[in-house]
Amino acid sequence: MKYSYYPGCSLERQASAYHQSTMAVARPLNIDLVELEDWNCCGAIEYIAVDLLPAYALISRNLALAANQNGGGNHQIVAPCSACYLNLSKADKYMSDSPELAAKVNTALAAGGLSYTPGTIRTRHLLDVIVNDVGLDAIKERVTNALYNLRVAPYYGCVVVRPGFDHQFDDTEYPTSMDKLMRVLGATVIDFPLKSHCCGGHMTQISQDVALELIRRLLKNASDYDADVIVTLCPMCQLNLDAYQDSVNKQFGTDYHIPILYFTQLVGLAFGLPATELGIGKEFVDARPALAKVGATPDVTDIPASRRDKKALPMPRMTREGER
Amino acid sequence: MTNKETSPAGNGKPKLAIYWAASCGGCEIAILNIGDKILAVDEAFEIVFWPCAADFKYEDVRNYPDHSIDLCLFNGAIRSSENEEMAHLLRQKSKVLVAFGSCAQEGCIPGLSNLTSASDTFRAIYMDNPSIDNPAATLPQTVTTVPEGELHIPVFYNTVRSLDQVVPVEYVIPGCPPEPPQIWAVLEAIVTGAPLPAPGSTVIGASHLAVCHECPLEKHEKTIERFYRPYEITPEPGLCLLEQGLMCMGIATRGGCGALCPRVGMRCEGCYGLLDGVEDQGANMISAIASVVNVGKPGDDEAELERRIGVAMDSIVDPAGTFYRFNMAHSLLHRVKTGNNGDVQNRGSETA
């Protein structure tokens, strides 16, 4: 499977661990990620707030490049960063809906000798590609080092499942793709209630108190559920939860030490890849104590009895996976 | 069959004329294909005009008294001023004028040129043709001045018409070409004086039911997902070709041929033309075919529905050329709309 790969600015810098681990797992997963030549910043969140047209032109340049460079590929571009994924999808969608916008953007692109027909390139998030294109069965076959007993809080953040338009790959309010992926790796997945809540985003720069409160809620909830690790798929989420954990502890007098890892890092570990190849060790909150559990045999003592109490009312049966 | 005294040769036999206008000559061969019986025809009729087989001139016909020809079998469409002139002349001279074969009946293959214009046709024949070297761009001219005076050749019309669009005809014998046994049946009826149906573009020598009625292939309820061109599949023997996705025109085509084509696994192309009570063979085909293309359900999203139906219908290549292969000149629309310069407008990809 060959895709255009759009790493985005974060993966060049603070999220290099994400890039490193993505590349490391791509090989065993048989995903051929061809980095887009001469890509530029997606404009992140700010630029769209300043002026829409330049923002869309900036984003669409990448789509135009992808359309040119995707020979032999499947006309899909993969972004591991949630913001990049949202921006690329959004620009394409809005241009499809508004020929007027598409014409204006194309006027701008023409200055660089480029053009883009909306709908040509489909933007995919890395998680979507791994879970739905590679498939859980294929992943399961590759697991050599199951993550038994590791309690994982799957954290999606607010952006990745909320473009809310075409090709949406998971439920907007209660996504489960990463839950399923982690379960396949052998991890114990907690039903993380705040899985699609906000990490504070750039509020750390604008109004730190607001951001720290949002981060605190996430850490507290994960801690309430005894999570060993929060696993994420977004550089911004990782940064906020990881780098500001110390500030949260100071501000609220708490003592959280929950490592924040990228899902690709855990996939890599389960595949038996060495931690260094996966960029583990670059995080602020040390992941080593939590990861010490990896490689253990499954703990069977904790399986609940079929009925705890004779008087208790039965829980509703959930639809099996695959249904609805 | 009276007026013997005014007939050209006056030997007492009814007079027979056979003429070809815009046609391929297949109809003449079909007449000869009645075999030994051709001698009976010669026995029964006096042939007074048959350019293909006997040496008569137009001038001879002009000199015959009006209504002196008892039976005229006219094959070929009206493509040029010469065809039209002969149609009027033979009408004037004949008691019974028969549109013989598909070209005279409904335009047939020459009629397909109604999907283009005379100028495009000229361009294709005399200029844009790999086997043509015509640096002076010489085209047929209706009038050419030479020292001896003016030379005239017939005008090539923009639109092909059927015979009955030019002059009234008594009877029509359909087919491309008509099947020899039926030609004989008609001639025999005329020779023996058997009663013929009331004249007025009346079809004789064919069935009043569609080809399906004569077709031995097994038929079921029809649900078709897509269509195939004949080279794409080998049809299952014994089963209705249409059900297998071959665009068999038998459902909307007059029978009488004995379903010769479907019997051997070849789809009916529609040469016997439309049935009584049908105004437009192609329109009926569209309606019937589209009805059984089993794509799209009431629950589908509207845009998706349109898309899926569009895809299914796209597997029908060249609908106009398929559904009007023989009937174009007799169809309701009759011809393509062309721009002021004679160019065909808005054709879409399939004819480009």
Binding site: E173, L194, N221, K311, L313, P314 | A252, P298
Partner: protein, 667 residues
């Protein structure tokens, strides 16, 4: 020129038409058109004077066809058909040109409107000369009726028809009749005990000599047409011989197989492998569920057979197929409840103390799994606070855009019942609007308000157990925007009740297909007219009652069932039915047997005669849509009153001014 004598009548409709259309000009012009013998304009054609004018002209001028240019045929076609008939002219020798709704009311351009009126009149004239006299079709009515669905709608309709003296077959999918109403505890706003008012009627059905009750049975096939349907019913094997069973219940008591009851108790309680859904079930015979029966699963047990005093247990019983002949059918198939798992952020199935409204309904029911105790999932703790979330799955473009109409009222009922049983418990209702529009509904709302229920107006974002503040620990937190104060609120509660909406039956499309009817986008059966014919469908002889037509509460359901019953009784008492003759007919002399038309009929009215190699339309089943008529490649099918000749002539007529009438001399 034809010998037809057409009378054209142009109506002024007061000034409704005359203001925009020069009616006198139209009439004068019409008089000079082909076929037209007389043309007049008149103030009100539909008045008795106008009608008499038509009748008089038919008789005195020998008119053979009539065209009235006036309003919509949906308004007055029948009126003028009547006038023609009174004057001795077949009612189908008439055509209407709708120059009011489709012309004068849609433009102010007098010149164009007049031209358009002329076109429409000319089209009608050209058409009407090709009309043929048609006779209404008499169809005899079989007096037996089939009712599908044994909820309150089916029960009501069955009793009404049976009491009128006609026989009813009542088919119910579940082992007992009663439907959703049997599951409910109290009914709003009167707080009548549902079982108290329903069970006597169920008993009546079970005992009525005119009702054949076929419970635990499903419809397999429907053939035929109004007056004469043949229905195939599969009576599923009960493994209990109804002739021998006394309904004593010994078998149920002794059965060791216990399983979750996901139907009647909606998963909140258990039942045995041999069971009755509830004690008052009608019929009283139990059913063995093979999936949970130890004998069927493991090959030994037969405890029930051992204890049965009348030897009614029969493990060898097979499904039975019955063929019923009926004249009319009432569909009362009811509704499904919205599946609360569809909205994961509300936590149903994930968070123990989130309940659906039907679970709560069973819980408060004294005959339910908790004997009427309101408790948390642990089965013992009464909640100190309860949040009731309205519009779950309703009024939401992600799920159902429509209002389910019953949730507001049952949610108010829940609030009341909680106050009644647990006076110290706080109740919060999260609503969008309170829709209390029925009789005494608003008063009930006020009563609940006064009882101290908190009402928070706003859609709930999520239900979570993620505590943010100390007071939230161990609770379910309902996060919602309170739109009245414009603030986000987090309300910690012990128990959440999701007021799930109503949706169409999961198999409603297949059922509709079976009867040749349509379903709307939401899967509800389409009524013939939403206002004037709410219980009729496009299939003659098939009626609908209750929530299969759309969400509705018990009183409306009962009213609809009564209405459907009276429609059926009225048809039966007529004995025969006169049907519009707009039907298709295949001319066997032109049919080539190509079979193109065979599966086009949505009513399966076309049969193929393999011996003669021709297809035939069963006239009584045909509804006259014309799909087959259009499709016939041989033009062997005629659609009465909509023949190709009639429509083609009308096309020529309405295009009279843009047609070139010179003979075609194409070159």
């Amino acid at each position: 020129m034809s010998e037809e004598r057409v009378g054209v009548y142009v109506c002024h409709c007061g000034t409704n038409i005359a203001k925009t259309v020069d009616v006198q000009d139209v009439a004068t012009w019409a008089a000079g058109q082909p076929h037209v013998t007389v043309a007049r304009d008149y103030k009100f054609m539909c008045s008795s004077l106008g009608q008499e004018m038509v009748e008089q002209d038919i008789q005195e001028q020998g008119l053979t066809r009539v065209v009235v240019a006036a309003c919509s045929p949906h308004m007055h076609e029948k009126t003028f058909q009547g006038a023609c008939e009174r004057a001795g002219l077949n009612r189908f020798m008439f055509e209407m040109a709708n120059i009011r709704e489709l012309n004068s009311w849609t433009t102010k351009d007098r010149e164009s409107a007049t031209q358009k009126a002329k076109s429409m009149v000319r089209g009608a004239v050209e058409r009407v000369v090709h009309h043929r006299p048609l006779d209404m079709l008499p169809v005899p009515i079989n007096p037996n009726t089939l009712i599908v669905g044994g909820g309150i709608a089916g029960i009501t309709a069955a009793l009404d028809i049976a009491n009128a003296g006609y026989h009813v077959y009542l088919v119910e999918r579940e082992p007992s009749i009663g439907g959703h109403m049997a599951q409910v505890d109290k009914t709003f706003p009167t707080l009548d005990c549902a079982a108290c008012i329903l069970t006597p009627r169920m008993v009546d059905v079970g005992q009525h000599p005119n009702i054949t009750l076929l419970s635990y049975s499903e419809l397999e096939q429907v053939d035929g047409h109004v007056g004469n349907f043949t229905v195939r019913v599969r009576k599923k094997a009960r493994f209990v011989n109804e002739a021998l069973c006394t309904g004593c219940g010994d078998c149920i008591e002794k059965c060791p197989g216990k399983t979750l009851d996901e139907v009647f108790e909606v998963g909140l309680g258990y039942r045995k492998a041999v069971y009755k859904p509830f004690p008052q079930a009608v019929p009283k015979y139990p059913v063995i569920d093979t999936e949970s029966c130890i004998f069927f699963q493991r090959g030994k047990c037969k405890a029930c057979e051992l204890v049965c005093p009348t030897h009614a247990i029969d493990f060898t019983q097979k499904d039975e197929y019955l063929q019923l002949q009926v004249g009319n059918i009432i569909l009362a198939t009811g509704y499904d409840l919205f599946d609360a798992r569809t909205i994961p952020q509300y936590g149903y199935g994930r968070l123990a103390n989130v309940f659906t409204s039907m679970e709560f309904e069973r819980m408060v029911n004294a005959a339910g799994p908790t004997d009427g105790q309101i408790v948390l999932r642990d089965g013992v703790t009464p909640p100190k606070s309860v949040g009731i979330i309205h519009c779950v799955g309703s009024r939401d473009k992600h799920y159902h855009e429509y209002c389910s109409r019953v949730c507001c009222m049952y949610s108010l009922k829940f609030a009341h019942l909680i106050h009644e049983r647990l006076p110290d418990t706080e109740v919060y209702n999260f609503y969008i609007d309170i829709r209390a529009s029925g009789k005494r509904y608003e008063e009930f709302y006020h009563r609940v308000l006064e009882e101290g229920t908190h009402f928070i107006r706003g859609r709930v974002a999520e239900v979570t157990d993620a505590a943010r503040m100390p007071g939230e620990e161990g609770k379910l937190i309902i996060q919602a925007e309170d739109t009245l104060i414009g603030k986000q609120r987090r309300i910690p509660v012990d128990m959440v009740i999701l007021s799930t909406g109503v949706q169409s039956r999961h198999d409603s499309h297949e059922v509709a297909q079976l009867f040749g009817m349509g379903c709307d986008f939401n899967g509800y059966f389409i009524e013939r007219h939403p206002k004037l014919d709410p219980v009729l469908t496009m299939s003659d002889g098939v009626f609908i009652a209750g929530a299969c037509q759309g969400p509705m509460a018990i009183p409306e359901t009962v009213a609809q069932a009564g209405s459907a019953a009276s429609q059926v009784i009225s048809l039966i008492s007529q004995g025969t039915l006169m049907m519009e003759p707009i039907r298709a007919r295949i001319n066997p002399d032109k049919c080539s047997g190509c079979r193109i038309c065979n599966n086009l009929c949505p009513y399966h009215a076309i049969t193929f005669h393999a011996d003669r190699k021709v297809s035939e339309v069963i006239t009584a089943m045909c509804q006259g849509c014309g799909a087959c008529v259009s499709a016939c490649p041989s033009s062997a099918i005629t659609g009465a009153h909509f023949t190709a000749q009639q429509v083609m002539s009308q096309i020529e007529g309405i295009l009279w001014d843009v047609r070139e009438t010179i003979p075609l001399m194409a070159r």
